[in-house]
Assembly symmetry: C2
C-alpha cells in the first residue's frame, strides 16, 4: 500500500510566505513517519494513511489561527497502482473496509464523535474517487450516508459534498471517508478543500 497527499496551503495575505513557513512547522511531530518533499506547487507527504489527516489538520489550524482567510487544498491517495509499496505507508491498524457498509458507517461516526476539539471553525468540501474495479457508486453513496450522520454535514453540491464545523471533527470525517470507503486494497483518491476565515457568507 502506498498512501500520501499532495497538499497546498493558500493564505490570502501579502504575508503568505511567513504564514506558510510557520504552519509547516506543525508537520515536525510527523517527520519521523513521513517522507516530505516540497516544490513550487505543493508539498508531498507520504506516510501511514491514518496520519495524513491529523497532519493536514495541524498545519491548517496553525495557519488559520493567523486570522487570515486560508485554504488547504489536497489530493490524497491510497493504493495507487503506479506507486511502489512503501513500508512507511503500512496502516497502523486495519481500517476495517472488509465490513459491510452499515458497520463501516457506524464505526466512522464513532471516530468522528471522539475527535479532539480545536476551536477553529472550518468549511470543507471534497470528492471521493474509488478507482478501478467494483461498485464505485455504491461506495460513494455509502460514504454520503456516513457524511450525513457525521455531525458536520453541510450540503451536497455538484461533484462534491460540503462539510462545516470544528476542524477536529471535519478532518476526522475526511479521514474516515478516506480510510473506510472504497475497496480496502483498492485505489482511492480524495480531492479536498478546507477553508477558514472567509469573508464570504455561506450560500
Amino acid at each position: 500500500m502506498f498512501s500520501g497527499a499532495q497538499i497546498s496551503l493558500y493564505p490570502m495575505s501579502d504575508d503568505f510566505v511567513r504564514i506558510i513557513l510557520d504552519a509547516v512547522q506543525a508537520l515536525d511531530p510527523y517527520r519521523d513517519r513521513f517522507r516530505i518533499e516540497t516544490d513550487d506547487v505543493s508539498t508531498l507527504i507520504v506516510g501511514p494513511p491514518e496520519d495524513l489527516f491529523p497532519a493536514m489538520r495541524d498545519v491548517f489550524v496553525r495557519a488559520a489561527h493567523s486570522g487570515v482567510h486560508c485554504v488547504l487544498s489536497a489530493a490524497v491517495s491510497r493504493g495507487c497502482p503506479g506507486e511502489p509499496d512503501d513500508p512507511i505507508c503500512t496502516p497502523i491498524s486495519g481500517a476495517g473496509n472488509a465490513l459491510p457498509l452499515a458497520e463501516r458507517i457506524e464505526a466512522a461516526c464513532a471516530h468522528v464523535a471522539d475527535a479532539a476539539f480545536t476551536g477553529q471553525h472550518v468549511a470543507a468540501q471534497f470528492s471521493l474517487y474509488p478507482l478501478g474495479e467494483g461498485h464505485h457508486m455504491d461506495e460513494i453513496y455509502g460514504c454520503i450516508d456516513f457524511l450525513k450522520s457525521s455531525g458536520v454535514f453541510d450540503c451536497s453540491k455538484n461533484f462534491c459534498t460540503k462539510l462545516g464545523g470544528d476542524a477536529g471533527a471535519v478532518f476526522a470525517t475526511l479521514s474516515e471517508a478516506f480510510l473506510r470507503f472504497g475497496d480496502a486494497r483498492g485505489h482511492v483518491a480524495l480531492d479536498i478543500t478546507v477553508s477558514a476565515n472567509s469573508p464570504s457568507k455561506r450560500a
Copy 2:
C-alpha cells in the same frame, strides 16, 4: 452528459477580494452557455465540456495579470452518474474518445499546438480519475503519453503530473486530457491546480 467544475481562485494578497471579483468578470462571455453558482468555498460552472477550460483560463489569466501569486484549484467532472442530463452540457462536437489511444494522443497534441498564446507563464498539476468500469490505468497511462508529447510536460509526481508553460497551452492540455481520455460516456474527474507568480523556485 453532465459536465462542469467547482472552481476556486486564491490570490495570495490582502487585496484578494478585489482581484477575485475582477477576475470573475472574465466569465461574462460564457454566461449564456453556463449555469454559475457561487458560495463561500467555490464557484460551480456547468456547461459544455469544451468550454470549461477556456473559461477557467480566462479567469485565471486575468487574476494572474495582477502580478500577485495566484492559484486556481478545480474539481472538473463529466458523466457523473448522480447528476441529471443537462442540455446545456451537450458537447458541441464529438470528442472522439471512441478512437484508439494513439489517434487520440495525436489529435490532442494537434489541439494543444493550436492553442492561443496568452503571455502568462503558469505551473500546473493535475490528477485524472476515470471512474467506474473499464481499464482505468490504461486510460491514465495513455493520457500520460499524451502529456509527455504536449510540449508543456514538466515532470511526473506522486499522484499527479506537473505541467509548465504558457497558460494557453497548459489549459489546452488539461482540456484535452479531460475530453479525450476515459470512456466517452463514462464518469471522468480531474483535480487541477494552476499557479502563477510563485516566489518559490521550481524543485
